[in-house]
Symmetry: C2
Subunit: 565 residues, 2 copies
């Protein structure tokens, strides 16, 4: 591509409303332009990158035996009613009435339509397993779209859905998708982790998220340094300490903590470590309040807690009035010792092995010291309800956990019977008996990957594309082509040779001064830059610099070709 | 592709609600499945064909120097208000409210968004000309979606928009697009005509429609047998007869035609040719009724008439009460001789050269014979207001016109200033002065092409794909592979050799009986079929049949490869 014929539109200013690096750089590089809240136009430059990602995803899906199809973006209410998701999906579902007042939605995902397709098209176990996928525009009416295409309303997604008789078949395709995803992100040149994920409200048996690692990532993930264990922090198990609980050594005492309500304040006042304190959260359970006790330095894992029988999936903290009514005490002074018998006390594994600990005194302005389980404080049950922390042992017993931040770009999920059951999608098995099919679903956020890659790979000068995602692999820049026809001719000749070798190259023939030209090529992240200049021609060399290099160096044409092949 | 791993879903029954061949065959071949009115899922088979078309379009757009981008499907009301199209587009525009009650539409076309993009991104004449295009899902809320993907509500369209300073630049890009379109339809293997089209309500300077020829086509087109003139019938000029009007020879007489109201009835009763009659239509003009006079065998061209100064663009016939009030006569007996002076009489060129003609008597139950213009009947103006007919002279003076039916699959249009003016899209010219840009727009209905091709190319057995659109070029069928491992092995080997040569091949390894297998391959329209059988292997031959051949023939492997290369 000759840049004079390409509509490149870089800008110098950092856009005021762009908060994160990828959003800023995509706007500065001119990859996207905002049309309205959460709606972006992909410029020619941006689309080149988007298509690279799309093509890698398509190739690996095909290689894994999935078959591509295309479902409408606009889908009828009736189908979404059959699974109950017309209501359940909430206001993220963009609802539409057509000219005849029929109701539709702009699909955020396509389980209903593909299951409807499957119940019509699949009749026999002989047609299974099958894995359908599409690469199609989706819409989620986010309440607060932000971060550019990272959390846009309209976005490009690859969604796949597999159908099976039998869990073994589902597990096999699930693994094939897992492997395909690993190949996709590896080919794209991204650092990523596949982490065990919570299956959430959908239920189902297994789920992995594919996370592109980036310090700015919204998701916290953990991984082991001694095995390939990796999980979403919500999912990661905190093992029970191997050391048993010491016997009580101290007596229970009430101490005054008139204004000290937090663990930090109390431990500072009393001169004890937060690890020797127990914090008690009162939350709203299915039948009244529930106490959750954690070691003072630990945080509650709400997903784990949401699975307790006593709590609804999404639970809330009790408010001050409720706490006062139930305990006669204000928040900040609640503890397990002396709580009313009606309140179940769920104790985290790490808190359960403490002895002689500090906790709230259940009387305003006081705490206890020397508290001990059983003797002073009731335990209804010991559970894993905390967030893991850096240094925790890996749940598989191998190595230590480390924390990282990630951006979720893919998700594989064993759905099981959920949708097929709701829609009555059955096939005849080898006995001629109708069986509900098992399903898996497998999503990749194509447009999100573009932003995630930039979050992981950028520097002060701009984007640092991996080769597979770059709009072009190589830029050929010419210095003062109007003053030096030989420079222009040599650059053109090099450009044509690279193109002939199948190396995607952009020729910057816009006639900008070198500084502006180089700044553009760095901003848009071209992996390899070659400069053709009068001085270089005289010396028989070209100036080469990889995007990741600090300095450029002189190379011969043959050396250059060797570098790029 | 091995068919056992592909989800092929042909059906035998002709679907009840499919009226035209392409709709029937796309359903029977399992290319599409209906989700809701005007909404179709493209199956794996259908999508293969759709992508072929899409790729040819993309390649030729790129070759013609257009740059691809991608605009959101969901677009804000504010932009559509700026051009007035939020209202003007009518109920075909699918309007949507998001969770914040902001209004949007699902774009049926993208002039507003691209012009907004251009006004933000283009500042200087140096950036022009530029031709942006996208291949994106569109939506038109048709009142009566029908004919499958031929007139669906959600469809895939390529839309391009070029920006210019100066008409010459616009004309040049217009021509480049015209040429690209011709290459696209030629490469796709379709018989087509580029016809001059009416520029309609949009105005603008030039417009061509690309029509795929098919007897079932909705559009009537004309073309010359003596030149490359071709036009939409709405646009085709009917030249004035070269013979002048004869002098009057007969006297005006009133004759009784008590129940004869139509030209057919009157000419039969009086024993004269319809070509010797004048029919008079009273229509509602801007200021009262207007009379339109045509030769008895000709039809009114409403587009031409809509351009008369006396008439609105979309006009209606006067109803019986209005005619009676204005003339004292009922419809069927109106004629130009003796019409009230307040009614303008617009006479078609062919009617204007008649002498001694028959026409309505302006008194119930009577007609005139021997009527003559000027002497008996006033002429306000002579105009071209009729539909051309088979055998008319070509408007360019070369050859004779012939009629054909077509399906509009592409449209190129010189928009001129319309959108850029409404949205204030200007650039600085070489004098530093702001100038409104000229625009062209260029559309191709990607999904419609698939249906149009089938309308043009099918037979009783099914679809007859041109090579460029076929899901696969070649099918390799194996007879009784389970009983003959050698047959299966030979077919597999042939399949692999063809694939290695880059020939897209499908191996039918489903183990169907030959009749069912062949019927499927004919129904889905594979251009070349090769059968591997025990008998053939013994004779060292393969059985080859092109989809268009009546019979198959024995060929050697080398002959086959020669045929397919």
């Amino acid at each position: 591509m000759r840049l004079s014929q390409f509509h490149l539109a870089t800008v110098k200013e950092v856009p005021a409303d762009a908060e994160i690096a990828s959003h800023q750089l995509m706007l500065r590089a001119g990859m996207i332009r905002k049309l309205a809240s959460g709606l972006y136009t992909w410029s020619p430059l941006g689309l080149r990158v988007l298509r690279k990602v799309e093509n890698v995803v398509r190739e690996e899906m095909n290689r894994a035996g999935a078959v591509e199809m295309l479902m409408p973006t606009i889908q009828p209410r009736e189908l979404w009613e059959e699974t109950g998701r017309w209501q359940k999906f909430g206001p993220q579902l963009l609802k539409i009435k057509d000219r005849k007042e029929q109701e539709f939605c702009y699909a955020p995902t396509a389980e209903e339509v593909i299951t409807d397709y499957a119940r019509n098209e699949l009749n026999s176990y002989k047609q299974l397993p099958v894995n359908f996928y599409q690469i199609q525009t989706k819409f989620r009416d986010e309440i607060r779209p932000r971060f550019g295409v990272m959390r846009a309303r309209e976005f490009l997604m690859k969604d796949a859905y597999s159908f099976h008789l039998g869990q073994d078949s589902l597990a096999e395709t699930y693994q094939a998708m897992y492997d395909a995803y690993a190949r996709i992100f590896t080919r794209l040149g991204l650092k990523f982790r596949a982490v065990q994920a919570d299956t959430g409200a959908i239920g189902g048996n297994a789920s992995h998220e594919f996370q592109v690692l980036a310090d700015s990532g919204e998701d916290a993930i953990v991984f082991s340094d001694g095995s390939d264990y990796a999980a979403n922090v919500e999912k990661a198990e905190a093992l029970a300490p191997i050391t048993p609980r010491p016997a009580p050594a101290a007596a229970l005492q009430r101490v005054d903590t008139p204004t000290q309500k937090t663990i930090a304040e109390v431990s500072a006042l009393l001169g004890v470590s937060p690890t020797q304190c127990v914090k008690t959260l009162l939350v709203k359970g299915r039948d009244g309040l529930v106490a959750l006790c954690l070691r003072g330095d630990h945080e509650l894992n709400e997903v784990k807690a949401g699975k307790l029988a006593e709590l609804p999936d999404e639970f809330a903290l009790a408010d001050e009035a409720e706490i006062l009514a139930a305990t006669g005490t204000r928040p900040g002074f609640i503890g397990p010792a002396g709580l009313p018998d009606t309140i179940p006390v769920i104790v985290d594994r790490s808190a359960a092995v403490l002895a002689d600990f500090v906790c709230g005194g259940n009387r305003d302005g006081t705490h206890h010291t020397g508290a001990n389980w059983e003797r002073d404080a009731r335990i209804t049950r010991v559970e894993d309800i905390r967030q893991v922390v850096e240094g925790d042992p890996s749940p598989d017993g191998k190595g230590m956990l480390h924390l990282a931040r990630g951006i979720e770009v893919g998700h594989v999920f064993q759905l099981g019977l959920k949708y097929a059951e709701a829609l009555g999608a059955t096939v005849l098995d080898d006995q001629g008996k109708a069986q509900v099919m098992l399903m898996g679903c497998y999503g990749i956020g194509i447009s999100r990957i573009v932003a995630a890659a930039i979050e992981q790979r950028h520097d002060e000068a701009g984007i640092v594309w991996p080769e597979a995602m770059a709009p072009w692999r190589v830029s050929v820049c010419m210095i003062n082509p109007k003053g030096n026809p030989e420079v222009a001719a040599a650059a053109e000749s090099l450009y044509q040779e690279l193109a002939a070798r199948g190396i995607e190259t952009v020729l910057d023939n816009r006639g900008l001064r070198p500084g502006a030209m180089f700044a553009d090529m760095e901003l848009i992240g071209i992996p390899h830059r070659v400069v053709v200049s009068e001085r270089g021609l005289a010396a028989g060399t070209l100036e080469y610099r990889a995007r990741v290099d600090a300095e450029s160096r002189a190379v011969t044409r043959d050396e250059l070709l060797g570098l790029l092949d």
